[in-house]
């Protein structure tokens, strides 16, 4: 593979494209509601109407509005149809010749689409994720080519200058992490893509792996070149069979095309990628647990330092980044770090994908520039609640995050602002709650999740989460007294301050943030003490702010 060959593939692909394209989403959400059959019917309708010479029906990745799936769109006119069934296929093809259809039309200019800014999901819903030619025609692998024209340290400097921060939750500066791995003495190094995605309600990474598997691989290859690694692993949970299938196909195609393997773009750079399938434990998303799992060991975290950058997979320097982080890289290489740094806020650059779920009208995936307010996402893109009830709170960051009350919805989305109000950016889960949601119950739900998912290694998390869940149950069932509430808060501090890994350290967040903003709901559930107790004398604060 060389640059001419890349351009040749792109131009052949573009030349072969028919003037009119009917795009049918074939990603997980729509596939579950029958899009494979819809695509089949669309294809036969095109043929039956004798339109094959200027119309094609193709399978594409997820355009984002999953709650309206299966989703079909026509191009170049840009019409979108939702809740499409196989029976609608013929009608949709007829619209190309101006006829009407009983398929549900979706307004392509509504804020849900118009207000998005897509970098990572730029090609999602546009190209066929199962064909490398389709990706190459959309400038795919041009970023890798450009990277290989530079020195590795120049790439690290570029990524640093872009201001990109890790999308896996903690927001660690990506360039700094790359620099650390790059500076380790030469020798065997690894690159790992973290596609574990265990937060309930989150499916951003699944969609990126399904819709743009080549973009993830390209990002990994650029990273490998920058840090001096020759072997990569993508860690995906077994619950994501389509992501695994598409990544596997993408690895196969890229290797065949000479974009992975040896001698990439006729340089000495070599890079191989393998998939490792996880059993779906939330804790295996934690980097040291993930590394243990890749090695075939029990997936439990270990104390850091040493950080994986220094000693990771098989004790070698290892770069581990999130799926979305890697998928952002090709665009930074193609468009330059200044371009990327110009998007977003002072400390949070670029865009972030959120999976918008809960009591929201337009549930699905949205990619917005950092600095967009929560209100814009929930009310404009999300269209408010489905039945017009008042939004009460927005939960970000899943079991590690917090609930943000409606009166703080004007907070801009960036790492620091969300942290300040007791939540986190997290990996991109965003759950909208209305006035029928009870906050102590929300807190109990997440605590149950953490107790189930605790790996059991350290005492505060293993037992503390179970006791916290018990106290929250007592509270929700109106059996708790003020004494129990004090115990609950004290225990939250313990689990947060003393647990070994991020799972335990952040498990109390949903309780603490709901206590901070909705204390009244907790108070209202308290029962009078059966007997007089002396007031608690604790050195641990009985407040949460």
């Amino acid at each position: 593979m060389d640059h001419d060959e890349l351009q040749r593939i792109a131009s052949v692909e573009r030349a072969a494209a028919k003037p009119v394209e009917i795009r049918c989403c074939t990603s997980s959400g729509c596939r579950a509601s029958g899009s494979a059959e819809v695509l089949k019917q669309l294809r036969s309708a095109v043929q039956a109407k004798g339109l094959s010479d200027r119309v094609t029906a193709v399978g594409v990745g997820c355009p984002g509005l999953c709650s309206a799936g299966p989703v079909v769109s026509t191009h170049p006119d840009g019409a979108i149809f939702g809740k499409v069934t196989a029976d609608h296929a013929e009608g949709i093809v007829s619209t190309l010749s101006g006829e009407s259809t009983n398929a549900v039309r979706i307004d392509p200019n509504q804020p849900f689409f118009a207000k998005q800014f897509r970098i990572v999901r730029a090609t999602a819903g546009q190209i066929d994720p199962e064909r490398i030619e389709s990706y190459i025609a959309a400038d795919g692998y041009a970023g890798l080519y450009q990277a290989l024209q530079q020195r590795p340290d120049e790439i690290v400097a570029d990524v640093t200058a872009s201001g990109l921060r890790g999308r896996g939750g903690a927001g660690y500066p990506t360039g700094l992490k790359w620099a650390t791995v790059a500076k380790m003495p030469p020798g065997q190094k690894y690159v790992i893509c973290n596609g574990d995605e265990g937060d309930p309600g989150a499916f951003m990474d699944r969609s990126v792996m399904e819709d743009a598997p080549h973009q993830v691989l390209e990002g990994m290859a650029i990273a490998a070149y920058a840090v001096g690694a020759n072997q990569g692993y993508v860690y995906v949970r077994a619950e994501y069979p389509l992501a695994i299938e598409r990544l596997q196909a993408a690895i196969h195609q890229a290797t065949k095309a000479g974009l992975l393997g040896g001698n990439i773009f006729q340089t000495p750079f070599e890079f191989k990628v393998e998939i490792r399938i996880g059993a779906g434990a939330f804790v295996c998303g934690e980097e040291t647990a993930l590394i243990a799992s890749v090695q075939g060991l029990r997936g439990t975290p270990r104390p850091r330092p040493p950080y994986p950058a220094e000693s990771g997979l098989w004790d070698r320097p290892t770069l581990i980044n999130n799926v979305e982080t890697f998928a952002t890289i090709p665009a930074i290489l193609r468009n330059g770090s200044d371009w990327f740094a110009g998007i977003g806020t002072g400390t949070s650059k670029g865009t972030k994908i959120f999976s918008l779920t809960g009591k929201v009208k337009n549930a699905g995936l949205v990619e917005v520039p950092m600095g967009t307010t929560l209100r814009e996402v929930v009310e404009q893109l999300g269209g408010g609640t489905a039945d017009g009830r008042a939004v009460k709170a927005v939960q970000t960051g899943g079991p590690s995050g917090g609930c943000i009350p409606a009166d703080l919805l004007d907070t801009p989305i960036d790492y620091e602002s969300l942290g300040k109000i007791g939540s986190i950016m997290g990996s991109g889960g965003m759950i909208v709650m209305d006035d029928t949601d009870r906050m102590p119950e929300v807190a109990r739900f997440f605590m149950e999740f953490c107790a189930d998912e605790s790996c059991g290694k350290c005492v505060p998390c293993r037992v503390g989460t179970v006791q916290l869940h018990g106290l929250l149950t007592k509270l929700v069932e109106k059996r708790a007294t003020r004494h129990d509430l004090d115990l609950l808060i004290e225990l939250c501090h313990l689990v947060k301050d003393t647990s070994l890994c991020g799972l335990g350290q952040s498990a109390p967040n949903p309780v603490m943030s709901t206590l901070r903003y909705f204390a009244g709901e907790y108070e209202a559930l308290l029962q009078p003490e059966e007997f007089a107790r002396p007031p608690r004398r604790s050195t641990i604060p009985l407040t949460v702010v």
Partner: protein
């Protein structure tokens, strides 16, 4: 050999570079409570009893895995640390079925003596009363899971000192439990050499010699570390 000096509880202490805060404190006669640490095997950093405050670091640090550094200022006995240690012990007592009065290790149990030492005189959380089993299939030894605190000292001892790797942890969260040979009765284990090292390593009454009755199970834990030192330094006489 490079040496660093640090301050632990206002006392100037010197330590070999790379040595843990726990080791340095011990050499200086400062006691930091531990449960999952065992001399001679690797650290798990799992019990969190050895947490200390290190000036300039936001999070509490586990002394067993925190390297000493020049000028470090460590506190091991703040009010908060003492409270947290008591709470961790309380949690351990609620998790298993610890009935000291009928336990083989009564009077010779690290969990019990730590509770006394740390002033954990009552438990404020409900007991979980889990349904756990006892495995007496081994000819010489037995494991009573009701008393296991999942410190994994047995797992590391068997793997690292005996080299048999009979034990592992199975399950997740509070359902975690110790298994022999990936889930066989201990007596059926083909890897176990019946060396008894894990029994020596156990801090509670979970692992014991068959035939021991209440308060009879005593241990000689230093032997394990002595063995490791002897092998490393090739010195077999004391």
């Amino acid at each position: 050999m490079a040496v660093v000096t640090l301050t632990i509880d206002d006392k100037p202490v010197s330590a070999r570079a790379g040595e843990s805060v726990l080791a340095a404190a011990r050499e200086a006669g400062i006691r930091i409570p531990t449960l999952c640490h065992l001399d001679g095997v690797s650290e798990a950093a799992a019990c969190r009893l050895c947490l200390v405050q290190v000036e300039g670091r936001g999070r509490l640090q586990a002394a067993c895995v925190t390297e000493t550094a020049e000028g470090m200022i460590v506190r091991t006995q703040t009010d908060t640390l003492r409270e947290y240690r008591r709470m961790i012990l309380e949690l351990l007592f609620t998790e298993g079925n610890h009935v000291c009065a009928v336990c083989v290790a009564n009077g010779n149990c690290e969990l019990q003596s730590l509770a006394a030492e740390q002033g954990m005189d009552h438990v404020r959380y409900p007991y979980l009363n889990p349904a756990r089993t006892v495995d007496v299939s081994h000819k010489q030894y037995a494991i009573d899971h009701n008393r296991c605190i999942l410190c994994t000292r047995c797992v590391r001892t068997c793997d690292e000192i005996e080299g048999a790797h009979t034990w592992d942890v199975a399950g997740r969260g509070t359902l975690s439990h110790i298994v022999a040979d990936m889930g066989q009765p201990w007596g059926d284990s083909v890897t176990c050499t019946s060396c008894g090292k894990c029994v020596q390593a156990c801090p509670t009454g979970a692992l014991f010699r068959q035939g021991s009755t209440v308060a009879e199970m005593t241990r000689d834990r230093e032997k394990l570390a002595d063995l490791v030192t002897a092998r490393r330094d090739k010195k077999w006489t004391v």
